[in-house]
């Protein structure tokens, strides 16, 4: 235990940790956004979401290293594959259980998660992989080590979050998604074909899961259980933000990423993931609308 030596407290303001937190927070924010969108309209916790992230990362990895495509093209392929993939999984599996309880769907999604993870192991093996690219030098800005990959993660996240915001606020279909997430029956009364909306939400949510996995793979390594192990901070972000609330989930994502990275100042690095769990528990114990709830929708 590092303890509360003033030196460590000072380190909490170290811009390096803040920057690292922003990078990790960006990834969690994007991932949480996709998960909360899916939850909002389908009302079930999709445990396989983490593995959607991994599948997106692996397809991008394959396009990038096995077919030598540029990383940007590879990332787009990963997103498209996972968008369609999420829809296919829904048609093959979840749709059959949609009228059942949320618990049934949750259990089914655990099964889907297990299958996807093992398919990845069969196709790509159990070892860890990396996207191809030059070994990067780490340029310093004002004393902060800033990797080009990290800059890419932050910028792409902002683009994804901004694009989704515009979709949900400015387009007819996006407003309908928020409406259906508010109340499905009222959406139907308005003449909105909610089954068709569900299709769009899987496409959007799947694409977001895919890119979140790719960003995660860019920041760390690509492993079969990379998404699954990332689930806890992602769930924590969704719950802190108020389940089904997109802006809340994003705020929660950044908050958790930054808290988690700053925590290494006071607790050993190995325990860093516990921060997500801690915040998840705090979120569950606090009001169910979430800490950021209300004010952010």
């Amino acid at each position: 235990m590092a303890g509360f030596d003033p030196q460590f407290v000072m380190a909490a303001f170290d811009p390096q940790f803040l920057w690292n937190g922003l990078v990790v927070g960006s990834i969690i924010a994007v991932a949480a956004l996709g998960l909360t969108l899916i939850f909002g309209i389908l009302n079930f916790i999709n445990i396989a979401y983490g593995d959607y992230m991994a599948v997106g990362a692996y397809f991008a990895f394959a396009a990038n290293t096995q077919y030598d495509l540029p990383i940007v093209v590879a990332a787009l392929i990963g997103m498209v594959v996972m968008a369609v993939g999420a829809l296919v999984v829904d048609k093959l599996v979840f749709e059959r259980f949609r009228s059942r309880s949320a618990i049934v769907l949750l259990v089914v999604s655990i099964g889907v998660a297990f299958v996807l993870r093992n398919l990845i192991r069969i196709v790509w093996g159990t070892g860890s992989r990396r996207f191809s690219g030059p070994i990067e030098a780490a340029p310093q800005f004002f004393g902060i080590r800033v990797l080009p990959d990290q800059v890419a993660i932050v910028v792409i996240s902002v683009a994804i979050l901004g694009g989704t915001y515009l979709l949900l606020r400015r387009t007819r279909i996006g407003i309908a998604m928020r409406a259906a997430s508010d109340d499905t029956d009222l959406a139907r009364i308005r003449g909105i074909d909610t089954e068709r909306l569900v299709t769009y939400v899987w496409l959007v949510g799947g694409a977001i899961a895919g890119i979140a996995g790719i960003l995660l793979g860019l920041d760390a390594q690509i492993r079969p259980n990379m998404g699954f192990t990332a689930l806890i901070p992602i769930f924590a972000a969704v719950i802190l933000g108020g389940i089904g609330d997109p802006i809340g989930a994003v705020a929660g994502g950044y908050a958790i990423g930054i808290t988690q990275e700053l925590s290494v100042v006071v607790i050993p690095t190995e325990y860093k993931p516990a921060i997500g769990l801690l915040l998840l528990i705090i979120g569950l114990l606090s009001k169910p609308e979430g800490i950021f709830g209300e004010a952010t929708r």
Partner: protein
């Protein structure tokens, strides 16, 4: 031929049957109030007409078409707009977004026109297009609920307890709006707890009890009937 014709409808939830053969008609341009004790099945009847519940037996016809098995998302295209008792606005959407969703079934081009007309009827909405709906007062929310349902200029407006939970002054407001809407030619089918008021306003009243229509008559007939006064009007 009536505008709406509900014949011998049975409906309910899961294994529980709530409506045991209900008949009900609404004529073109008419205002009909359905009254009855709590739990009588009034809301269930409206949900069944609106397609949220499936009729087990019986038929629902609208403007000569059989709409018995028409799902909720298609009902609006027949010219029926329904304002449920609970959750009748999208709380997380703004006022203008709620009106946009009210006009979902409409071509985009007609939106501006319709929204102007709804603003004319409900000026309170024009003052706050970007306010999130759930932060409005109960009265304003009820106006929004009706405004959104009127975006399509329906032939039949179905209202489930429009005055529930409102202060007396606001109740007058709401009934005045409903009167207005009906005077402009829209038929209204309304369920109300405020039974006397609802019967006074309506052309016709129907008393529902234990999932069956018990009495039917003009508003005045029902108001004047001692039996009904004793049983359902609490006096």
């Amino acid at each position: 031929m009536s505008l709406l014709e509900v014949s011998n409808v049975e409906s309910g939830y899961g294994d529980v049957l709530v409506l045991h053969g209900v008949d009900l008609t609404v004529e073109d341009g008419e205002m009909v109030s359905v009254i009855g004790p709590n739990g009588a099945g009034k809301s269930t009847l409206l949900k069944t007409v609106a397609g949220l519940l499936e009729a087990r037996t019986g038929t629902v016809e609208f403007a000569g078409e059989d709409i018995t098995d028409t799902p909720a998302e298609e009902i609006i295209y027949h010219g029926i707009c329904y304002v449920p008792q609970t959750t009748n606005i999208f709380g997380n959407l703004t006022v203008i977004e709620n009106l946009k969703m009210g006009a979902w079934a409409l071509e985009d081009a007609a939106f501006e026109d319709r929204v102007e007309r709804v603003y004319e009827r409900f000026p309170v909405l024009e003052d706050r297009p970007n306010q999130r709906a759930e932060t409005m007062s109960g009265g304003q929310q009820q106006m929004l609920a009706m405004g959104a349902a009127l975006m399509l200029d329906p032939d039949l407006l179905i209202l489930d307890e429009p005055s529930a939970g409102l202060a007396p002054r606001l109740i007058d407001d709401v009934f005045e709006k409903i009167r207005d809407i009906n005077d402009s030619g829209t038929a209204v089918l309304m369920v109300e707890q405020n039974a006397r008021r609802a019967l006074r306003e309506a052309d016709r009243g129907v008393v529902l009890e234990l999932g069956q229509d018990r009495f039917e008559g003009t508003g005045e007939e029902l108001l004047d009937s001692e039996e009904i006064a004793e049983l359902y009007l609490g006096s």
